[in-house]
Symmetry: C2
Subunit: 364 residues, 2 copies
């Protein structure tokens, strides 16, 4: 079973292919872009040990000479300093690496964001190819063209919009994921359901067991449904001036919880789960969403092993972080709230009292 | 006397305003972009000492709070490390610096390229405003959206296309330029004449004295004519897939001479002058250009104080540099050759013998 989805962006459109064993067709896919004789596979040391050989062999079999560039696994590597080191390694392969070269991101979200950023700024833009290996990267970061690195002042503060030339998602990589990472991806899947597609929530509810067991066909279908939603949002609003903001559902409070806890001590997926619970509570309080819908989503998040409450959450510490969020303007917190399951709106009038109540709900 | 030229790029179109004292209207221009409450003026320490106060006061008078970020003057500062330091200083101004902030590049080409790159990658793209203070930046780098920094492996290897939101050219800054820097800009002016506009060559010939004396009205007219040419080329081909390559006339051999000499020991303008002389010689040899036209341009370059020959030029050292140029593909040198004064074509079939003859002409 293989699925393919087009991301429609005019001359920058690209194809996302999803299936078990898809990594074996990387060479053919990159060669199919045209003109590529050299590639650089960028990967963290953990993922490289598992999959780099297969990626490089596949490229070589299609006549694309590929070097491997690795960096230490973990969010701590997502810095301008790491990007600088990857650029050094890339330019050490000149003149083979010229404007026709392709950067292949092989790994999770950190790798995709970092390698994509390197591709965006190397020779003012090289083509790049996404080969995500985590569910979170599969359904979220590998599609859409957001690239970047973190800065001590905040996550993703340095980056660029740079669309990939293609995405290849091998769901056979998913069973080796630590359970916490799988759940992180599932939080984004639930998010997609809440913002665009109630039927996706049905699908996850019905198949929760097979999903947690990483059944190949079910994961292919799950990823395809999620990529289709992300692709539609990105096609309609590439640069986040309008509906792309809907993807931030659960992220305003979620990012703040992540920052407050320090990167790594709460996973992104856990933080987004908490952020969605808080946002839904706020939506129920405003009379936008029924309590019954909010409860249904909470139940689903719980069934997937995601957290619904955070004891001891410190609202006084949380508030300034939300006010300084990259998406905030002049200190006004911006939140995405559901009006029903499958539809959301952006709200720029969220009050401190409401935020306090939402945080209190999580803490309780 | 003030002139204005639009750079037509659809939704990313912008206006270039040229005149003596134009810097005084920076605040009004930035405020006119809409939504900007904070700005960061990026400048090297030398230019900052001369003009930063005026820029910041003008911004403040229009209600735009501006911080100043400086770095050491010189091409050696055009690195990813300097960009990283400027980003640190920029993010230290958060939350005042948010997505509505404007980066103002105040200075020469290094400042414009560096600050433009910072703007391109800060929060995945802030608006930026170019205030060039050298003739080279006025007529070349301030228009067109090429931003970037150097890497030990080559110039401008790290960068992005990021169009400014506006350009303000104050020709009153030109009389303080060292003569060598003025000449550097004039080499690019002659280049524009050769590739697009024989009448511009007439204008420079007729006004050489007033130009070298930096007469304000003549400089305003000179800059306006050059910006108009650059703007037309960039509008037709923003990303350098076609005719924008014409702007590389004189740069294939010129860049190689610059690299061989080590950045700084030959100025960019001197290198481009030599590169144009060599390219014209090659064009004459091919029967594309008349000897009389080539001689006329050589005379003009000489009258402007630009070099026409380089004794001891080492072709064996030059050739591999040209073959590894960012614009070369698979080691084939690409050159822009005039077919008459005012028109050029790209040639991908230049032989080693021809390059050797051109280098020999310069050395002789």
């Amino acid at each position: 079973m293989e699925r393919a989805i087009n991301v429609e962006l005019g001359t920058r459109s690209y194809r996302v292919r999803i299936g078990a064993g898809a990594l074996g067709s990387l060479g053919a896919a990159v060669a199919g872009l045209g003109g590529a004789t050299a590639a650089a596979v960028v990967s963290d040391d953990r993922v490289a040990a598992l999959y780099a050989r297969r990626a490089i062999d596949s490229l070589a079999a299609s006549g694309v000479r590929a070097g491997l560039i690795t960096f230490p696994a973990g969010e701590a590597s997502k810095t301008l300093a790491t990007a600088s080191g990857v650029l050094d390694a890339l330019f050490a392969q000149r003149p083979a690496v010229d404007r026709s070269a392709v950067v292949v991101a092989l790994g999770g979200g950190v790798t995709g964001d970092l390698a994509g950023f390197v591709a965006a700024v190397a020779l003012r833009g090289l083509r790049f190819f996404q080969c995500p290996t985590t569910l979170l990267a599969d359904v979220d970061s590998s599609v859409g063209g957001k690239t970047g690195v973190d800065h001590p002042a905040g996550k993703n503060l340095i980056g660029a919009f740079h669309q990939p030339s293609g995405v290849l998602i091998d769901v056979a990589a998913l069973p080796t994921l630590p359970p916490a990472e799988l759940r992180g991806g599932l939080a984004e899947c639930v998010k997609h359901g809440v913002i665009r597609d109630e039927a996706l929530l049905d699908f996850i509810e019905r198949n929760a067991g097979a999903i947690l067991a990483c059944d190949a066909d079910v994961m292919t279908e799950l990823v395809a449904r999620n990529v289709a939603i992300k692709a539609a949002v990105v096609s309609a609003d590439e640069r986040e001036s309008g509906q792309r903001a809907h993807l931030n559902f659960g992220h305003t409070i979620g990012h703040a919880i992540e920052t407050l806890a320090g990167y790594g001590s709460v996973t992104h997926g856990q933080a987004v789960s908490l952020g969605m619970v808080a946002a839904m509570h706020l939506a129920v309080r405003r009379g936008l969403l029924g309590q019954c819908e909010a409860d249904r989503v909470e139940r689903l998040l719980g069934a997937l092993g995601l957290p619904l409450r955070r004891a001891g959450l410190d609202f006084a510490a949380l508030l300034p972080i939300m006010r300084h969020d990259k998406k905030a303007r002049a200190g006004q917190v911006r939140m995405v709230l559901p009006s029903r399951l499958g539809a959301v709106d952006v709200h720029d009038d969220v009050t401190t009292d409401e935020l306090s109540a939402a945080a209190g709900y999580l803490a309780g």
